[in-house]
């Protein structure tokens, strides 16, 4: 018997595999995994497939429990999971479908600089970014606010930062949800969460979070590249961070309460970490209001990080950021729950779409997009590992039809941290990266080893799947030049 049969996966087509409802009693819908045969071999090595099946138990889940090709073992949901629940039909919201780092996400800036013009400055820029952008575990920034202002951040999100002079209105237009979800209620956030997030605005954090100077090394769609103003050799910047300690505490607070909701609402799930409550219940509404606060905090955070980045480029290259064309392409969330409308069996329904390690990928014409992206579809930013590539894609109508407007969020982890520590030598790693023209600065050597390219899947293979499956479309590819790790 092949491994695929052992895992109960049925081939739908070259890029989709089904976990039938019959796999586990209690599954309300099947599971569908987006992957090719090669990636599927990696996916089968851990417990992610089980987790896709477990998510299919959630009350109100619609169509299927979905997983993107960067799927790997998480807690509760797999990482790379998408699940939509029908709110009018008892659909639930689960903090596990969002994760501890609420609105962990990524933004991409373009510049009018070309690699050949600034290749001698990459080292200076990398060192200056490492110096000016706070990073590492528990890092604290220079942006200090009182409790009243912190509550303002939770409601206004990136607009708070712009009002402080840390950006422009154009930045907000180029941010998912325009940088703030409506309906955030600071009263739903605990005092401990405020305390835990204190002084962390404008900080990168640690783990897989990063700030990278990149260069475009491949164009896939010349028309879209022209529209976005992107060319071969052009320098871009990518920032990956989230809601820091505030988001972790919001998730922790609500996992505590949602575990009790399982009994209260007579919900049966195979993993208590999938604790959840109907979206329309008091507990569901309160979590959503708190989650939005953390999401808005994260958008403010990435806006502040971009402001610091622009400042570094101005100082090192002695030009204003406007003259260097440092414009935001887009900012996407990849750990979030959203209320979105979809046509299900001929009826428009309000769904609660969980994206746990998955990126929104709305196609052309979607009303949620700003005017400038109405024709192109939503920019989708997919970071890879520090040694290979990252991508700019756009969302598609097919994604809206098949995956609740969702696609992958990155390369996806392949090896554990302990396996990385055993097999990777930091000196060899740094030399290898240097030989590829990649300068790395990190707060800790352990982070470097745990985040080495070989612990990740090849993002090129992951993106091939989402492109070929039609749930997003390649625009261009970047490679790293300078990397800041927490």
């Amino acid at each position: 018997m092949s491994e695929v049969q052992e895992c109960h996966l049925e081939k739908i087509d070259d890029y989709r595999w089904r976990i039938p409802k019959s796999y586990k009693g209690g599954m309300r819908v099947p599971g569908i995994i987006y992957a090719d045969e090669k990636l599927l071999k990696d996916i089968r090595q851990d417990k992610a497939v089980e987790q896709v099946a477990n998510v299919a138990f959630l009350p109100g889940i619609v169509n299927a429990s979905l997983a993107m090709p960067d799927i790997h073992w998480g807690y509760g949901f797999c990482i790379g999971g998408v699940a939509a629940t029908d709110i009018e039909n008892g659909g639930v919201i689960s903090p596990a479908g969002v994760g501890y780092d609420i609105n962990c996400g990524v933004r991409m800036l373009k510049t009018s600089l070309f690699y050949n013009e600034i290749k001698d400055k990459i080292k200076d820029l990398t060192y200056a970014l490492f110096n000016d952008v706070p990073s590492g575990v528990g890092s604290k920034g220079d942006i200090r606010v009182g409790v009243k202002e912190e509550k303002e951040i939770l409601v206004k999100g990136a607009a708070w930062a712009v009002a402080k002079g840390y950006g422009t209105q154009d930045d907000l237009e180029c941010t998912e949800e325009f940088g703030a979800m409506q309906g955030a209620d600071p009263q739903a956030v605990s005092e401990r969460a405020y305390e835990r997030g204190k002084a962390q605005s404008g900080t990168l954090g640690s783990g897989n979070h990063f700030l990278e100077i990149q260069v475009i090394d491949q164009l896939y769609d010349s028309e879209l590249c022209d529209t976005f103003g992107l060319n071969l050799g052009q320098v871009t910047i990518m920032i990956h961070s989230g809601s820091r300690g505030l988001g972790y505490q919001v998730c922790d607070d609500y996992v505590r309460s949602m575990v009790h909701c399982l009994q209260k609402y007579n919900i049966s799930v195979p993993d208590r970490q999938l604790g959840c409550a109907p979206v329309n219940s008091p507990e569901g509404k309160e979590y959503l209001a708190a989650m939005k606060c953390a999401a808005n905090y994260a958008w403010a955070n990435r806006q502040c990080l971009m402001h610091l980045t622009r400042g570094v480029f101005e100082r090192v290259l002695n030009k204003s950021w406007q003259k260097m064309g440092m414009e935001l392409i887009y900012d996407v969330a990849h750990n979030i729950a959203k209320i979105e409308k979809y046509n299900i069996d001929g009826k428009e329904k309000s769904l609660c779409v969980h994206r746990k390690g998955a990126t929104r990928a709305f196609g052309p014409g979607n009303p949620a997009l700003p005017a400038r992206y109405k024709k192109t579809g939503q920019p989708v930013i997919i970071p890879g590992d520090m040694g290979r590539n990252s991508y700019l894609l756009v969302g598609t109508k097919k994604a809206e039809e098949e995956t609740f407007g969702s696609t992958c969020h990155g390369a996806g982890r392949l090896k554990s941290r302990t396996a990385a520590s055993r097999s990777i030598n930091v000196g060899v790693l740094l030399k290898d990266l240097e030989s590829k023209g990649i300068m790395v600065k990190a707060s800790g050597r352990d982070t470097l080893v745990e985040e080495a390219p070989q612990v990740y899947k090849d993002v090129n293979e992951v993106v091939n799947v989402v492109h070929n499956a039609g749930i997003s479309k390649r625009v261009c590819r970047m490679r790293p030049l300078g990397v800041i790790k927490g």
């Binding site: 895992c7 528990g138 305390e195 783990g207 505490q249």
Partner: protein, 164 residues
């Protein structure tokens, strides 16, 4: 992850010995097991009190190493937790430690469980400034995913996955 070690369908987990931190004043008893993205801990204790104590210390020992003496002050914090069952008490206990640690900027190096029943505990946790430590990994929370707490041959064993 070593492909042969972790299999689908709840295959056996393999364990590797964790590094034991030299700064600890207490005998530790935990191992790290592999998880693709996060950290799995298997903790032992001769009784429940020791299990909770060892688990509390393990989450800090696995993520930080004492390296400096920048701040000599020690902080004692009394922690009280209530829950509806033992599993919940265990998760709440670990998350309370992590939460206080992050909010106050301290790493706990000594724990005394003063009282422990199935649904409540009181403990004294002692820590010092995070400035004295090299923190390798940020642990966001302890999760219920595949949580196990069981008595084996008279001793207590817990398995827990930490989100990092």
């Amino acid at each position: 992850m070593s492909r042969s070690m972790v299999r689908l369908h709840h295959g056996p987990l393999n364990f590797c010995k964790a590094k034991i931190c030299s700064q600890s004043h207490q005998v530790q008893n935990y191992e790290v097991f592999e998880h693709t993205a996060d950290i799995g801990l298997r903790i032992k204790g001769k009784d429940l009190k020791e299990l909770f104590q060892n688990a509390g210390l393990a989450v800090f020992q696995v993520s930080s190493r004492r390296q400096y003496v920048k701040n000599k002050a020690h902080t004692d914090i009394i922690i009280k937790q209530k829950a509806e069952n033992l599993d919940e008490l265990f998760i709440n206990w670990l998350n309370e430690l992590l939460s206080i640690s992050a909010a106050k900027g301290i790493i706990f190096h000594n724990i005394k469980i003063r009282s422990l029943q199935d649904k409540a505990l009181e403990a004294l946790a002692t820590g010092s400034s995070v400035e004295n430590y090299r923190v390798n990994t940020e642990i966001k929370a302890a999760t219920y995913h595949q949580l196990k707490i069981e008595q084996i041959n008279g001793a207590w064993v817990a398995e827990v996955i930490l989100d990092v």
